[in-house]
């Protein structure tokens, strides 16, 4: 009974909260409004540019928060060794919709441990939300280094990223015409997908420059940790993640999926570049979970809205009705009413005729 009344997303909020607390993340509560200026300056970081704005009494332009990350980075610590770990669940406002979001951010003087911990927490979050899940991992630094070494810039670079993002081999081939090196590298990134064993060495074989190799080594050590933690079957390396519209991401990027939900439910990565752009000397990693998508996977609770419907004509003694309702509530839900409700169905109907209960 208690389990039934939780909506998927409500249950998720509580299980995730306890997971993040266990790893030392503190709750973060942000105000509903932020100064519009913060979002305008970092518009590219936002998923949607439809921000709801209004002015306060003194004429300052405020926005209903479309995002949580920017507010956390704004207040990130900059001292050497200082790390701030927070989790949140907040409603954000995009395209005139209210979206329930949970997530965590780790900002400050991050080392490899913090990066690995955040990725592991992403996998663990997915595991709490469903039995079948996949986390796709990519590395923006690797993609950028490969594009650099191919000499792609401007429009071509954007097109190449777009092809990677859409697994669009045919247009990538046309784009790389004339450069066998670019085609070899980029088509390898495009077609490689799977476990570290299947992907890492194949990619390593086509790399030629130091920045490329360095980024790949970062992925390799992350993969080892995921493998040791027993997630090698749930995590795939896939370079279609984060190849488009994520130019504030610098290192590891990832996206999580649950079977039965038609879009990615978790999205995140390392976004040092955003912190730098906001004038912060710190590194940052985090992810968001779009809880409203869990409604898609909501199971139908029961075939009936109420278990027992008690229908009376208004003349029945209140004490009698109360006793009948209490008895019915013991093994299910009960609704006491004088008229048959049109928009609800029920399993059992108890009707009071002349003060007597008739089943």
């Amino acid at each position: 009974m208690t389990d039934e009344i939780w909506k998927n997303e409500e249950r998720a909020v509580f299980t995730l909260r306890s997971l993040y607390r266990r790893y030392g993340y503190a709750p973060y509560k942000m105000s509903r409004f932020e100064e519009y200026d913060l979002y305008v300056r970092n518009k590219d970081f936002l998923v949607s540019d439809q921000i709801i704005t209004f002015s306060d009494g003194s004429g300052r332009l405020l926005a209903l928060k479309p995002d949580v990350t920017l507010s956390i980075v704004k207040n990130a610590p900059e001292a050497p060794g200082a790390v701030q770990k927070v989790y949140y669940n907040e409603n954000v406002y995009r395209d005139y919709r209210e979206i329930m979001q949970a997530g965590l951010e780790c900002v400050g003087d991050l080392g490899d441990y913090e990066i690995a911990e955040a990725v592991l927490l992403a996998v663990k979050s997915l595991k709490l939300l469903g039995d079948r899940f996949v986390l796709d991992i990519s590395h923006m630094g690797l993609i950028a280094a490969v594009l650099d070494s191919c000499g792609l810039s401007g429009q071509e670079r954007k097109q190449a990223m777009d092809c990677l993002r859409r697994k669009n081999r045919h247009e990538l081939e046309a784009l790389c015409r004339g450069s066998d090196v670019a085609w070899e590298k980029l088509s390898t990134l495009l077609s490689c997908r799977g476990s570290g064993k299947e992907v890492l060495d194949r990619v390593a074989a086509v790399l030629t420059t130091d920045p490329e190799r360095q980024a790949l080594e970062e992925l390799r050590s992350l993969w080892k940790i995921l493998e040791t933690s027993g997630f090698e079957n749930a995590v795939r390396l896939d370079f279609s993640v984060g190849s488009g519209g994520m130019h504030y991401y610098s290192g590891v990027v990832f996206r999580g999926y649950l079977a039965g939900i038609p879009a990615s439910i978790l999205s995140g990565g390392q976004y040092d570049k955003l912190a730098r752009k906001m004038g912060k000397r710190c590194r940052a990693i985090g992810f968001a979970i779009y809880l409203d998508l869990l409604q898609d996977g909501q199971r139908q609770d029961s075939a009936f809205d109420v278990d027992t419907l008690i229908l009376h004509d208004g003349t029945v003694d209140t004490a009698v009705l109360t006793a009948a309702a209490e008895a019915a509530a013991k093994d299910g839900s009960v609704l006491v009413t004088e008229v048959l409700p049109k928009d609800r169905n029920w399993k059992k109907l108890v009707r009071f005729v002349n003060g007597e209960a008739v089943q």
């Binding site: 996949v134 859409r166 697994k167 279609s240 939900i261 038609p262």
Partner: protein, 211 residues
Amino acid sequence: MKTMINVALPKGRLGEKAYAMLKQSGYDCPSIEDPGRKLIFENPEKGVRYFWVKPSDVAIYVERGAADLGIVGKDILLEYQPDVYELLDLKMGKCRMAVAGKKDFRDPAGQTLKVATKFPNITRNYYSGKCRDIDIIHLNGSIELAPILGLSHVIVDIVETGTTLKENNLMVYEEIVPISARLIANIASYQFKDDVINEICESLRKQVEEL
């Protein structure tokens, strides 16, 4: 239980050709070949389910996960920019997106160019790349009428053979992009059904290469 793959086919000749290729790949569905009013066709043995939808809706069915795979024209992908994987160019339904106008058309330099089209986003992107100021007139059909009646200077539309244009004294001035049919996949479905989707994709790729 066999994984079911849902495929959205565009109504019309393109969809029929695409189905023929899928059938060749071993994903046949006998009931689809019976004429009737059914909307969904299933072959549980092969683990495949087909449905016909309006060509411009295919991308929506796939993006939202009602279909795992779909066959759709590149024009629709460019116009609506759905978040899907574009796995294969099927090299059929070939045509081009082009700017056309009356035979005696001259670009009214110094004026806003009036463009009639079914594809406002493609049109906007194309002209903003050229920094040309335009006024988009969004029509749903019979685009060719617009320049003839003086509603617009030019049109941006799909040109297959060019016969309709010729018969109406219109001609192509600029080609924007070549168009053909593409195999698309829902990104989340791909995570869980990648083995089957890759198998279908590879088999279709072979057929395309043999053409």
